[in-house]
Structure formats: C-alpha cells, structure tokens
C-alpha cells in the first residue's frame, strides 16, 4: 500500500515540472529589467539605495558650505579610516577687536574669544579605502554625509580616489548642481538608523 502511495506521489509531483515551465515562460514573455547601457542609462529610481562614493550634504543657507559641524564622529567611527576631517582655526582678531578685547579685560569683564566656524576646512575622503559600510552616515549627528548614486565613477589615476569633499561641494554649488532636496529625507533616515542601532 505504501509503495503504491509513493508511486502516485511521484507521478503527481511531475506537476511541479509544469509549474517550473510556467514560471520561466512568464519571465520570458514579461518585460526585461536590464537596459542597453551605452544607449540607455538607469534612471534615478533604479539607483535608489546605491552606494557610490561619499559626499557632503549642503547646508540650508549656503549650498557651498556643508552641514558638517566638524565633530569628527564620522572619522572616529570609520572602520576603514578613510575620512580625514580638518577643523577650521579660529580667525585672527582684527586690530579693533583686539582693542575691544583689551578694554573689556581692563574693565574686568569676561573676554569672549573668537570661535572658529563649525564647518570643516577640509574633508578628505579616500575612496580606495572606503568599504561603504554606512557607519559614518549613521553616526553623523547633523546628517551631513551621504552616499552618491554615481555609478559611472571610474579613473585610471589613484590620486583621483583622494577626494576633497568640501572642494567638491563648493564646485558643485558654483555650477549649480547641488542636490539639496534630499536633506530632510536623509536626516530622517539617519535618525531611524540610529534608533535601530
């Protein structure tokens, strides 16, 4: 009886062959998902979530200046040590300011030193070391660093992989190519990532 049962089971399982043919047949008739590269390129919706090299997010006020506050969270958390953030020095006080400060000191007031601007002087990113782990993005408190969706980056020169992201942002702002539209979304993303972590 058991043998007969397994016999029929084997026969019935032949149906799975038909199911398989249906699956591939449907895929055969369905639309294609690839593009003919040199003639067509993938649209932005196809690049969502792609991790290209890093870039800085411009601040709301000035598209040439990043949101970055030079807190070094990204550089310290980076497992590949591919980020170098150079803070700005405090500006030298002018003659008048020096005078004012000296006067204030003489009056016995607390002298407020000139503070350095928060945005970084340099933000060097070594693309050749980056492992696209997203840790810097997760750790940035102001959402100032993000992945580009640049799939076409290619170079024959290793020096091109050392990118000065501040310069890049300034250049982009000058040519009017900055994409500030994604800022709130990116910030929200990093927040959720942090809460998950």
């Amino acid at each position: 009886m058991n043998a007969l049962k397994s016999f029929w089971k084997n026969i019935a399982s032949l149906w799975s062959l038909i199911v398989g043919l249906q699956v591939t047949g449907k895929a055969f008739c369905g639309p294609q998902v690839t593009v003919h590269y040199p003639r067509q390129t993938v649209g932005p919706e196809g690049l969502e979530g792609f991790r290209g090299h890093m870039e800085l997010v411009p601040s709301v006020k000035d598209p040439a200046i990043p949101k970055c506050i030079s807190c070094m969270m990204c550089a310290t958390s980076c497992p590949s040590k591919c980020l170098t953030v150079v803070k700005q020095k405090e500006p030298k006080p002018t003659e008048e300011q020096l005078k004012a400060m000296a006067e204030a000191e003489a009056r016995g007031e607390k002298v407020k030193k000139l503070s350095a601007p928060k945005n970084p002087a340099q933000f060097i990113y070594d693309f050749s070391l980056c492992s696209f782990c997203n840790t810097c993005v997760e750790n940035c408190p102001v959402g100032s660093i993000r992945f580009t969706t640049n799939v076409y980056f290619a170079t024959t020169n290793k020096a091109d992989l050392q990118m000065n992201l501040v310069e890049r942002l300034a250049k982009q702002a000058a040519s009017g190519k900055t994409v500030p539209g994604e800022k709130p979304k990116k910030a929200a993303k990093t927040e959720t990532a942090q809460s998950e972590a």
Binding site: G20, L21, V23, T24, F28, Q32, V33, T34
Partner: protein
C-alpha cells in the same frame, strides 16, 4: 559515361545540403538558445552584433575557427583529435533518412529509423574518446558519466520508438509518417502519449542537454569531456550536440507528430515548424530545470523510464494482437 552511378551523385548532393542545413541550424540554434536564455532571465540576450544580435553566432564561429588548436601534455594525440571528428561525422548519415517531406528525403531507406539510432550511438564513443584522450580528470569523469548515461538512456529510447514501429509495422520514417493523418488528433502522440514523453525525456538525456547535462556539468566538471578542447575541436562537439538535438526532435516529429502532415497543405514547412517547436521546448527545459544528481539520473532511467517503456511496449503489442 556510366562510371558515376546516379545514386552516388544523389547522395553527395544530399550530404552537401545536409552539411549546409546542419551548419546553418547550428548558428540559428545558438542564437535562439541565447535569446531564450536572455528573455527567461529577463535580459535581452545578444543584441550588439547585427540586428537583434543575429550575427552574434557568426562572430562566435569566426572566433572559434581563429583560435589555436591546443593539444594538452600527456594526451593521446590520435584519440584526442579523433574524438571531435567521430562526434560530428555520424551526424551526416543521420540526416539522410529524415523525411522533411515526401520529396525532400535524402535517401529512402526502409530501415531509416535503425540507421539513425545506430549512428546516434556513435556519439557516446566520441565522448568517451574525448575524455580518455584528454589526460584530464574532469574530462575522464565527464566521459565516464557520458557512457553510463548514454548506455542507460538508449534502452528506454529504443523501446519507446519500438512501440510506434509495432503500431505502423515499419522501420521506415516515411512510411510511419504516411500512416498518420493530417490532423493533430490523428498523429501518434495521441495513441502513444507515454512513448512520446519517454522518447522526449530520453532524447534530452541522449543529447546531454540540461537537466541531464552531467557529462559537461559546468559547476562540477569545468566542461566535462570537452574541458581540454579549444577552437574548432570544441566547435565540432558543439555543432554535433546541436545537430543531435535536431535529429532527436526530427525523429520525434516524424514518429509522434505527423511529420510533414498538417491541417491545410502538407509539406516540409509543417515538419520544420514542429521541429522548431520541439527544439524551443528543449531549450526552454534547459533554462528551467536544475541539473539532476547522477544517482537521480540513473534512478530515473532504470527505475522509471525502463519499466514504463517495457510496459508500454507490452500493452501496445497486446492491443495490436487483439
């Protein structure tokens, strides 16, 4: 001036035509195969060379011809280079009794089926020689598999063919086709559905096509018996495989699907249409089913196909006797 018999001229012309047909079909099938593979995987397949990639197989063929013929160290040179020739040459006579239409049969033989099946058996020898001559473990394993598989599947194949021969009482493909009617329900696949399925399964296995492509299993054996072959050595095996596919599907068309007969005007176009439908189904199989394991392959043959084909043959014989 009677030195050259007319029959000889006939055969020479036929063989030349067959060679052309096989070569052309090889190119077309390579294109079809790659296109089907592409579309099944939701990509376009070859596209750059020629309109829709139509000239891609030609470019591939030119590349294959231009490649260096390399003989590996320690190989048996004679056997090594004999193998592709032994694989390809028997293809020619296999096409001779193929009944494309009543007027388009190269050679009218009353044992045409036996001729085809006999020459089809030579292919296993070629694969065995190739694997043995290569001095390569993958080649040898592939050859071993090819022999075990080929010998096993030949038996149910022959038995399922025999059932049809019993019905018609003839071994001539032309007569078998002539015995079938014009409409699909008058063809042999209605009377012999089990034999048809068995034949097609065994045919896929005999031509070493997926899911039964164990002799050249890429993921296990690099390329199996043709691992060491470069250039046209590989090209000949490739061409022979496609030619065998055409033969298997052609015989299936003649035996089970009414050959050149069809609704409306009967002719070679019906034969070619059915042939190509079967070929596309075979290619479809390849891009659908995962490769079987070797023990599963032989279990399927010895425990299922062989008993089924014997049973089918006995029942057929009984019905005919009654």
């Amino acid at each position: 001036m009677n030195a050259i018999p007319i029959e000889l001229i006939h055969i020479v012309i036929a063989i030349a035509l067959v060679a052309g047909f096989v070569g052309l079909n090889g190119l077309v099938l390579v294109w079809v195969e790659r296109k089907v593979a592409g579309h099944v995987q939701r990509r376009p397949g070859p596209y750059e060379v020629g309109p829709n990639g139509l000239l891609q197989p030609l470019a591939d063929a030119a590349k294959l011809v231009g490649k260096q013929l390399f003989t590996p160290d320690g190989s048996d040179k004679l056997v090594f280079w004999l193998a592709p020739i032994v694989s390809f040459l028997p293809v020619m006579p296999m096409f001779l009794p193929m009944p494309f239409s009543p007027f388009l049969t190269a050679m009218e033989v009353n044992v045409g089926l036996v001729l085809i099946l006999a020459f089809a058996g030579l292919n296993i020898l070629a694969l065995c020689l190739a694997g043995w001559g290569s001095n390569n473990k993958y080649g040898l394993l592939g050859a071993g598999r090819a022999v075990a598989q080929g010998v096993a599947y030949e038996i149910p194949l022959l038995l399922s063919v025999l059932a049809v021969c019993f019905m018609t009482g003839s071994l001539s493909l032309t007569e078998i086709v002539a015995a079938q009617g014009n409409w699909p329900w008058q063809w042999n696949w209605i009377y012999q559905p089990i034999a048809f399925i068995l034949y097609f399964t065994c045919g896929v296995a005999e031509t070493n096509r997926a899911p039964f492509d164990l002799p050249e299993a890429e993921s296990e054996l690099v390329a199996g018996f043709h691992t060491e072959y470069s250039g046209m050595g590989f090209g000949l095996f490739f061409l022979a495989e496609y030619a065998e596919m055409i033969v298997v599907c052609g015989v299936a068309t003649a035996l089970f699907l009414g050959g050149w007969k069809g609704p409306g005007a009967a002719g070679a176009w019906w034969f070619l249409l059915k042939l190509y439908v079967l070929l596309v189904i075979m290619i479809w199989f390849r891009w659908t089913y995962p490769r079987t394991r070797f023990d599963q392959l032989l279990n399927l043959c010895w425990k299922w196909l062989l008993p089924l084909s014997i049973l089918n043959l006995l029942v057929t014989a009984l019905v005919i006797k009654l």
